[in-house]
Symmetry: C2
Subunit: 233 residues, 2 copies
DNA sequence: TAGTGGTCTAGACCACATC
DNA sequence: ATGTGGTCTAGACCACTAC
């Protein structure tokens, strides 16, 4: 084995990855079965199983009962994004965090929001618009709808004093989330709040979270121009 | 246990998730240790271990030796994006795929590309610009640099005939990838190729891949206006 | 230093897809 | 029908770190 790692399973993933990258095992090839690899590497089959399952999750291997394990032909690229809590992100960058609530009120939800939250149109939800700043410079604008029906206790909260994101994270854990990234030209309101010119390209993140009571919250985040979201693999 | 699932470990993750969402176990709480849960659920400790490790990877639990397992206080939201191969994506949408190579030539790399690829400035690489179409409508514009030093055999390929993305995926598997999403206003060239107006907000994906020989390729993909990248959790 | 999670093993049985 | 991966078990030892 070329690589020593913290664990045997890790060492096996490294070695299998190497064989694939060095094209000893090519796309579409069937690789030896778990029992054979267990003998080759001198470990239990369960250890090989763990290693190969990690690589399958990464998308490098295709595994099927009876058919065996094959090197994936067209690996779809998977990327993991971490969407941090705004305040933490800003503070980690060494800037001072602040935020300003532009509006907090109860409103009937428009059709688009109803669709995203899988709720009937016109339902009364809490509508919240906030700007988050780093060292006084606008970092992101947040347009959020909160469903008290799925977030008990939210009705009495004054989000001028409490950060909505953090209150929700702490008090309404979710089971499922929908998320989408896109780009939009800044409208007049975005431009004003982000202190940029109308038409600037903004990275937009839309996220809706659900628990067993339904949609908790949906939010549209517009980042300041030039912001890039980094992913890893 | 409330939920029956395909496997015991899955059933345990569901039940633990339920206890967290229902706030039986609250943020910061220490949960029972693996041995106790194994007794409660009537399974081996290894099975509990597998279940809790899955939840820890998801970010719902914090696990430390000796300190035990705690419900994460500020769960950072993780999202997994799948970046499909263009052709497959277009065909899956029921459209006919085509592409057009705008330029293929050897050029010295500019500073920005050199930095991204961790190569010396001025090195001669293959520079490729391609537009991908769905039913004849521009879907994305790709501006790519390929390093023959890390992708042996690439020098002789005519990318007018072979799709670069697919050739690379098949012939130069990577070990590491850097990736970033951002938004840019369409420049004149983007606008012309995507058949949109200059200044449109475009979702931009930049990706650089590496193997043990160094950077294989770096690419800037500009999607057509309105495109959204969907993530799951 | 002791309690907790991390990992591994040898063996077993099962589920599934292909042969 | 049979070979392959999926999962589980009981037990063991180890590595970390909070106490």
């Amino acid at each position: 084995m070329t690589e020593r790692s913290s664990s045997k399973a890790q060492a096996i993933t490294s070695e299998v990855r190497r064989r694939i990258v060095d094209r000893e095992w090519r796309q579409g090839d069937r690789i030896p079965d778990e029992a054979e690899l267990a003998v080759e590497f001198g470990v239990a089959r369960a250890t090989v199983n763990k290693a190969l399952q990690m690589l399958a999750e990464e998308g490098l291997l295709d595994r099927k009962r009876r058919a065996g394990t094959h090197v994936t032909v067209n690996p779809a690229r998977k990327a993991t994004l971490t969407i941090p809590i705004v305040r933490e992100q800003i503070e980690q960058a060494g800037m001072e965090y602040s935020h300003r609530v532009i509006a907090q009120k109860e409103s009937p939800i428009p059709a688009e929001i109803a669709r995203r939250m899988e709720l009937p149109e016109g339902r009364l939800l809490i509508h919240l618009r906030t700007v988050h700043y780093g060292d006084g410079k606008p970092f992101q604008v947040e347009d959020r709808w909160i469903n008290p029906g799925a977030a008990p206790g939210v009705a009495g909260i004054d989000f001028h004093r409490v950060n909505a994101n953090e209150w929700l994270v702490r008090n309404a854990p979710w089971l499922r989330a929908d998320m989408a990234f896109s780009a939009e030209n800044a409208n007049a309101r975005d431009a004003r709040l982000l202190e940029t010119r109308q038409g600037s390209a903004l990275l937009i993140l839309q996220r809706t979270t659900f628990n067993d009571l339904g949609a908790i919250t949906t939010v549209r985040v517009a980042f300041h121009p030039g912001y890039a979201m980094i992913a890893t693999h």
